[in-house]
Point group: C2
Chain length 658, copies 2
Amino acid sequence: SVNPDLASERQTASFSEEKLTALLDGGTEQTRIRRAVVEAIESDPVFSRENQYFQTQNERYEAAVRKAVHLQKKMHEMGWTENGPESKYIYRALSGDVAFLLHHVFVRSISVLGSDKQIAKWIPLATQHKLIGSYAQTELGHGTYLQGLETTAVFDTATQEFILNTPKISAMKWWPGDMGRSATHTVVFAQLYIHGKCYGIHPFIVQIRSLQDHSLCPGITAGDIGPKMNFEHIDNGYLLLKNVRIPRQNMLSKFCEVRPDGTYVRQGPQKINYFTMTTVRLSLISDEVLTPLMKACTIAIRYSVVRRQSKLKPEEQEAKILDYQTQQEKLLPQLAAAYAFHFINDYLQELFNRGYREIQRKNFDMLPELHALSSGFKAVITQHCTAGVEICLRACGGHGYSLLSGLPSLYTKILASCIYEGENTILLLQTARFLIKCCMAASAGQPVPPSVTYLAAVKHGKCPAKNKLDFLSPDVYTEAYQHVAVRLTSSTAAKLQDLIQSGVEKHDAWNQCTVQLVQAAKAHCHYIAVKNFAETVEELETKAGIQKIMKHLCDLFALHGIFSNTGAFLHDGYTSAAQMDMVTASYLDLLAVIRKDAVPLVDAFDFTDKSLNSALGSYDGQVYQRLYEWAQKSPTNQMSPAYERYLKPLLHNTLSKL
Amino acid sequence: SVNPDLASERQTASFSEEKLTALLDGGTEQTRIRRAVVEAIESDPVFSRENQYFQTQNERYEAAVRKAVHLQKKMHEMGWTENGPESKYIYRALSGDVAFLLHHVFVRSISVLGSDKQIAKWIPLATQHKLIGSYAQTELGHGTYLQGLETTAVFDTATQEFILNTPKISAMKWWPGDMGRSATHTVVFAQLYIHGKCYGIHPFIVQIRSLQDHSLCPGITAGDIGPKMNFEHIDNGYLLLKNVRIPRQNMLSKFCEVRPDGTYVRQGPQKINYFTMTTVRLSLISDEVLTPLMKACTIAIRYSVVRRQSKLKPEEQEAKILDYQTQQEKLLPQLAAAYAFHFINDYLQELFNRGYREIQRKNFDMLPELHALSSGFKAVITQHCTAGVEICLRACGGHGYSLLSGLPSLYTKILASCIYEGENTILLLQTARFLIKCCMAASAGQPVPPSVTYLAAVKHGKCPAKNKLDFLSPDVYTEAYQHVAVRLTSSTAAKLQDLIQSGVEKHDAWNQCTVQLVQAAKAHCHYIAVKNFAETVEELETKAGIQKIMKHLCDLFALHGIFSNTGAFLHDGYTSAAQMDMVTASYLDLLAVIRKDAVPLVDAFDFTDKSLNSALGSYDGQVYQRLYEWAQKSPTNQMSPAYERYLKPLLHNTLSKL
């Protein structure tokens, strides 16, 4: 039975939830396929996450391996293939709680970087799981700066082998997933030396464990890096190489080859490597970042209409906490952001697909723009969604802090996305470098890529809004965002020029501008996200109430961004103080409007109870009952030796006198 | 041997570290006592936290109980007493990793709320650990709104007993520490009923477990609430009461009493209860909030001078990451905030002591101001420090995400401080209510408490700064903060009045202003923190370089606040855009200045390696070696059954063909 406080929220939806779900999925057929995958996975007890919050790191790892092995069987049974329409839903249905994710990266890196011969040899072995692969790039002492990697691979002409070594502790491979306990092979990135000369970083296939008994191969030291804030199910590992010899054929050689006599041959452009990173950054946005925020919104919003606390009016019963303006102000902007980023993800995917087609035709013109957009949005979206999940957690008070709410594990996992696949500050500075270049080019009258043409078309002037309703016009707020992005980019470009002209060295000048460069890169992405949301709303069908509610969310996303960052808009007087008060008024009005549809808006994400795995967020809203039931299953309710060992002697010393 | 990259940072300190440590401790004698306590605790293997990051929740609980019991013996051995000068350092030296913390709250609540007779009976039993106490206020369905608690205590005149019941699941006590597995007694807050009439919430002493065999008493259901984001060592519990009878004498009756015939007698003022909460809120700031931020700063800043990544100039070696402006911008404002809040904590403690003396003399005039300040600062400091710890964690990249860095556990623990002892938004609204009242009173010419007299003395005008150096004048920035606090309070008061005058009901009008009321309360606290820091610097001795470096930190704290919230200062034109550019310039300059002393400034916090328990933050800076050593001890490096069960069958299916 559904909690009546939750049921009543669903009776007044202003739109068709099922149509919104289909819109998010990309069509009703996609919804059908997704639901079938979810049903198949969730009905299989091997994939259960029921006891997840009670398990140790070792138990989580074992379960993830079991699931990964079972998944092969399941896919065969169900007729699912790696490239079939179901595949994109499998990982989501498992909530990522499965091993061998790096095995896929191993496969991808061989496909992208390997020669045809290497692909023919290794890919079948990998796809049939005759080996388990990993990907060893990061070292203890090196993450973002790839040129600084210290592992060496020296070519020995006599034996036609590469000799791999970890020359010092900071060169130890550290973090690779699946490597701590599972992998038999890995792709190792190392500095290539031939006849004493260094040729830079190259990838090598190295076997690390025996296929007979899984013991470590000669010269290999490897293990698990220990406990982390999340990812207990993954055996992130370390790897030390001591005179490990591999055949010449094990250097991945699509683009670079070492001939038997030691001649080094490079083929094809180096910048294509960017594109691999671009792919990874884009692919993580949906599964690793948007889904957790959508789940957190679902949990926190459902809980906030079931939880009653304190009174709005003395004579009434205690109010649903979502009726408090402060609670709306916490949760509803996160909901709006989830939709905004869903749509920008669609936009980026389409751009990426276009870029990919061009690259197939050997046209690499789009690479810089794709790199800048994927870097900037990876940073902005992971940052925003991580903050959003934390807000959802805190908005649920004490119960949000219990692991049983599901929110802590969403938070501790999404937090990692700000760090992996490019630390966010580094990525934003790459976007900024692109913006500065384009800003210079534009002001010199040279052509720039489409997403930054606005930098050239600088318009001065003031925000035209005359009353608070004007701020519900997408033209008005999109223009304001554009103005800020242009101002921050051009003023930082000017500062950089001034510093250089005043004699500061180029690198110092750049460093002295980086705080402001990061602001400019964020403003650029924020502008594009707002513009894209507004354009998406424009194109939606006007029936079924969907366009209307999406328009409200778009307005909220835009006005929340202004309200949270008023200084950027007030700075040069583009927006006046009186206009800022209008923004505030419209923003607060919108909260009350969207609050009415808040539950249907999260229901449309269509998460099952099993996928939420939350005592607070289930579809029926029976929060207190579920918290109590789940708590009783906790291992902390088993008999503890602490009583006999410590408490009894303490209390019994003087028991007779009580 | 100290890592040379860390050693070099210590050679150029602009001040005497030892003198700064003494200043923080409140004198050299305090430093001596603190160090003696730390030495005694850390040299005792029972108190070791060496394997903490590898332990399960059950293991953590058992260790915490063992430590709590052992601590009694230790205190006796060392001659430490509950009220001795050492006591305030014991908890810090244990890093809070000990059981029976709620036992102290049990004792305190009896001391404050119990009659002399009750104190005489229960306090000796508790202090000699003839029982273990807990404190059961929060329920599954009720946290912040005490009047809504649903547990009932019905007086039975016939037997002279109270009958306690949990009428429904939302009334179950939930969260009390030490109650899940340890406590024998607890103070239960329940609605008192006499002859069918409800007299509101009162506290009752209830025995929940047998002193013989620790089994649950008749009518009691209790257990552990399961896994949480942190506090694994604490057995937060649940409690269900079914017709539990306790003698009339077990209602704590300093202020309220039920006579044998059922007559209800209230003595003394009710608002004194506020004062107990004020005490708890203030006492948690130092141990639970400031210490973690100081530890996080120590870890992140030491790591940032040892970690080298990428190059500032192409020809040089890789740079220390603290030399990047973006890294300084992350960490140094957190360091400045740690100092700012240390000093405001001193200010609040002093104010509290003064208030306490007045209350002893039955003068309750200071209560509203103390309540407003303790609520506001609890919220602002916990929020700021929690965000600060997260920034430190993320600033350490992947290594910060490993539990071995110590940062994840600091974060997941400090996060709870935003929720417990008053959820922050609720607390800020209480401060705001006080501000609005005082604002009204001041504008009506009535006297207001000292901390808010500035609300009456509204000064219009503009910020007088003419160049970036003017923003290093405390008068200039303190005035700016004051201006913003006045503006936000008075404009929200005006909005509230307008709404009410336009016919909106008072409670609705309040709710519609809460987002802005929260802003006003934060601005008030921020202003007082800046003003207090500036005044503290003014009073410091001018020798040993301490005043100079504290002045830099005060400037940074103030300017970072303006830089992060420019809109508030620009809004009404008090600060112009040109002046804001000066703020930015001065702020960025300060980062480079303070960076030079960053390591000595964290060294002065004087944390031992054992208390930091961090592979990244140790005094010698041997980061990579320690990460590797610690990881090898992880239980995830023991033999896993996953290989035999899942991996071997998978790989061996086709082993012969490889």
